[in-house]
Symmetry: C2
Subunit: 378 residues, 2 copies
């Protein structure tokens, strides 16, 4: 049996998304910048996609720009805010994605701005009081960077609260929504965020395409210069199949959010209940509120636990040790370190989708019982 | 009849490329950074593609990095060379693509380096003597940026000669090969170039994916920071369908280069011979050597010539006024200005592929005769 419990790393392309992409490939190969019919057809695809994303986020179409993914979008938000809005202090947390933390390392090493990293609490939740006090002491233009949902332990930040804190301190607010887009409602007409970054391959869309929302009040200049595509914000011929695929995937995610949530919660709670009942010395990492599709499980240290990822892999089970996004290296994750996880224990992140089933859970538990102590062992 | 004579703007996806992409979509949705089987499968696709590109260019696989396109790659070459190699002077020409020229505007406006733009000669060819004298007078670390083939008039620069000039002056050499990849042989084992940038959608591959070759002797640090994909050079989850499609398109272009060239030359020379014989007061822009797929034609100013692009479009003919890459704006192109083109005359760039036919040429000429004077009119 092959089981894919690694949906927070990436998701398969849905058939409807594939169809949408193939329709574009077959019929629309023009360059959206060309003024002839083929070009205009391609342009319409890009603009239709922009409208779908904008409507879903309750943003204006003029605030949505397509990028190669969330990594580029997050880099753009940070680096262009320093350059264009004279941001001189950036406050973030120690459980952000590497595309934030490594960009902030770069910012610090090159003296582009002061960087303050706030440690999360032991359940992975944000230390809002520390954030407020740090903001109060900040005397220069400041930006706060906090993810909506953590990719390893699923903890959800309160972006409405964050937006109010940012507003009070006249700080810019970058929210990396890579994990939450299409899974949690985001209403930018009521929640004031400066930058929102998303990526299609986390919600059953294609890889290599994402977007950045830039609030009209804090427009930036481009990170990548050239032919002035995306109304001058992001040059380079548009990935029209990817953009069409992302829009389709986003539409499906929005239309089916409640249904998918119900299905995923059922699978996740069944999984969680069974491992807690049947496996010995299990810890669920991270507190509540957490996104319904991520379950980070810490297993006891045993002779076999070092080989846990390999044994799951051999059994046809895809899951992650930490996040997938650190290029194939299985190190103790910075997120687990941040929440004081015992490095001797072995953590596996199981992340579910609406395509997963209880039968898959049964199979995974059967395999886990071979490599980690069960309650009956005791 | 629908005729696509705008292949320098972008090309349709070949069926074989589409198949290669669909095979990946159907079978390989893993994240190449995941260490499980699904991840490793995706990683293999990316690495196989890298090997194909590297072999074609006679480069090492360690010198090829995937990007979202040539625009990103060109930006990266310039901005990272300034930062990482202390480049303080950049020399380029006035007919480069906007992704070079607008990046150089940015460099100049932000005082990152001195920029010298060398005017091309009236046939569009590079002023090598001026380049040499400018390099001789340059007392700081210098980079030269010259495209292999101009996208509007097709003139070919001698990259071997340029590489020797760069070497003599210890300058870095960035060559934008967006138009030449898969059409002209490029051998990086004998021609010493610092950076080479290419993009798939110009050679029948997908949009939204390209590559940068970075010579081992002038490695740079990333422009986009994050999960350390592409061996730390370019973060962001890889566009695996795009990368697979690009590799397939590149392989096909390399395997069929001679055949395609023969077909295109036949169509182009037939077209050129007929318009020169039958249409009045025609000028072919740009001198030799020029790439075999681009023909920039200047038509006399008449009552109807202002509407030429629209009339061609209505007749189902896709061609460009200038390049396609300036976001839908039909201005007098900077390339035509550079070669002293009379702005009252109307220029159309026809760019051909091996998929075009003489029948299409016949149709286009029939339509052109309705909107521009023929020799018989006189």
């Amino acid at each position: 049996m092959q089981v894919y419990f690694d949906n927070a790393s990436t998701t398969p392309l849905l058939p409807e998304v594939k169809e949408a992409m193939i329709a574009v490939i077959d019929q629309h190969y023009g360059n959206p910048s060309s003024i002839h019919k083929k070009g205009r057809e391609a342009k319409i695809i890009v603009e239709d996609a922009r409208r779908i994303i904008a409507q879903g986020l309750k943003a204006s179409t003029g605030e949505i720009f397509f990028t190669s993914g969330a990594t580029e979008a997050n880099n753009m938000s940070i680096l262009c805010s320093i350059r264009d809005h004279s941001v001189r202090h950036i406050i973030s947390s120690n459980i952000e994605h590497h595309c934030i933390l490594h960009t902030l390392d770069y910012v610090r090493e090159n003296g582009l701005a002061k960087v303050t990293i706030i440690d999360v609490l032991s359940d992975g939740s944000l230390d809002y009081e520390k954030l407020k006090s740090t903001l109060s002491e900040s005397e220069v233009k400041t930006m706060i960077c906090f993810m909506h949902v953590n990719n390893e332990i699923g903890v959800i930040n309160d972006i409405n609260k964050l937006s109010l804190i940012a507003e009070e301190h006249k700080a810019l607010f970058l929210c990396d929504t890579a994990q939450s887009i299409g899974k949690l409602p985001i209403d930018l007409s009521t929640t004031r965020v400066s930058f929102v970054c998303g990526v299609a391959h986390k919600f059953f869309g294609p890889k290599g395409v994402g977007f950045i929302y830039v609030n009209n009040d804090n427009m930036i200049k481009p990170l990548i210069h050239g032919g002035s595509q995306e109304r001058g914000m992001r040059s380079g011929t548009e990935n029209i199949y990817g953009i069409a695929g992302m829009a389709k995937a986003y539409q499906l995610a929005m239309d089916n959010m409640a249904d998918r949530k119900t299905k995923i919660e059922e699978v996740k709670s069944y999984f969680q209940a069974r491992i807690q009942a049947e496996l010995d010395d299990i810890i669920i990492n991270g507190g509540e509120p957490a996104l319904y599709n991520i379950l980070s499980v810490s297993f006891p240290s045993t002779d076999k636990s070092d080989m846990m990822m390999m044994n799951l892999d051999i059994a046809g089970i895809a899951a992650s040790a930490g996040s997938a996004c650190s290029s194939g290296v299985e190190n103790e994750s910075h997120v687990l370190q941040a929440i004081g996880h015992d490095p001797k224990r072995k953590t596996v992140r199981f992340s579910f989708s609406h395509l997963n089933t209880k039968e898959e859970v049964d199979y995974v538990i059967e395999q886990l019982k071979k490599i980690t102590p069960t309650k009956n062992d005791g």
